[in-house]
Amino acid sequence: MAPSYKLTYFDGRGLAETSRFLFKYGGIEFEDVRIKKEEWPQWKEKFAFGQVPVLEHEGKQVGQSIAIARYLAKKVKLAGNDDWENLEIDAIVDTINDLRLKLVPIFYEQDEAKKKALIEVVSKESFPYYLPRLETVVKKNNGHFALGRLTWADFYFATISPVFDFFTGSDTLADYPTLKAAREKVNEIPAIKKWIETRPKTDF
């Protein structure tokens, strides 16, 4: 039988990897559809807002990477136990995403000199603002990003922080051992470790 879930994204880890981790963690089968760059123009118009990742299930299609991750987290029991706990998880996920959004202009900048200038601003302002504060959160939460225990916020950071490296060309967490350890903790989960070993090797 075909898996009941289909996840469509570019051929890379990027913003879909959080969901792939969650599927693997929960042992939920999914069809991992990857669109090659040259094929994207034909695919784009099939999606309501022209974006991926998109999750399909029982004939329905939905976009937005964080919304999809939140849905899967509930399925694999990595969400909170009540509304306030889920608010705490949601808030730290959105904060990590805010940091990612500060880096996005780097990706789209074609001019090398301007690109370098953008990377410098991020390195001098955004990272020193967000990363120490995220470290404080993790220290207060027993090595996790929320609720003092493993939640999908940990998975979100583990899969989005490598995107920072991709944008800047540097090891973002080099000076942040607590954050690196939090990421490693996720990567060492047996189902995740196995996925990392067997997943397609891609540039991003």
Binding site: G50, L55, V62, Q64, K75, D83, W84, L87, T95
Partner: protein
Amino acid sequence: MMEGACIKRTRKSINIFNTTEEMAPAYKLTYFPVEALAEPIRFLFSYGGIEFEDFRFDRENWPQMKPNMPFGQVPVLEHNGKVAHQSIAMARYAAKKAKLVGNDEWEDLEIDAIVDTVNDLRQKIALYHYEADAAVKESRKEPLFKETLPYYLQRLDAVVKANNGHLALGKLTWADLYFVAILKYLNSMCGGNDILADYPNLTALKNTVLELPAIKTWVEKRPNTDM
């Protein structure tokens, strides 16, 4: 003073200290003195009949307050001695309390996805509005108004048409209140015009939400601000 010999006793209990004792609301929402990103939370608490303290600080106090805020941002929500942040996360929480969420996890995913899409549009508008460099800002104007806004608004209008006048699930959800609550902010960032002028289904949705009794009451009583 007294018009007759009788003192009328009403059913209300007699308050001998002549004071009114009120419990502070369980929720305190802190934000700038504007609608913008706190307004969805205000709409949702109002819709749910949930009392909240709507604290709006003076802008000149912000520099001292900022270091004490989680990640230096507002709005924040205080409840039971805890402080939460991130406007959409808090709106989702308020929506659960106000019972404007889905009936299952997939329904909640559909609502979340359209809210995030509306937020994507907000971010793209903000990238134009808040740009400090005048030349860069001017270069972003035409792509925003000729491409980005029509791209999103046409598709959102189509979603509302296909969903019985709503943004998700064919019925009223917090996605509808979220969208309408930030409209004044979006319009002000776009230079003050009504960005929904050419979009009849979105305009009808705006009216639907504004006509909800609890929202109508809130809009009439809230401070009047430009954004």
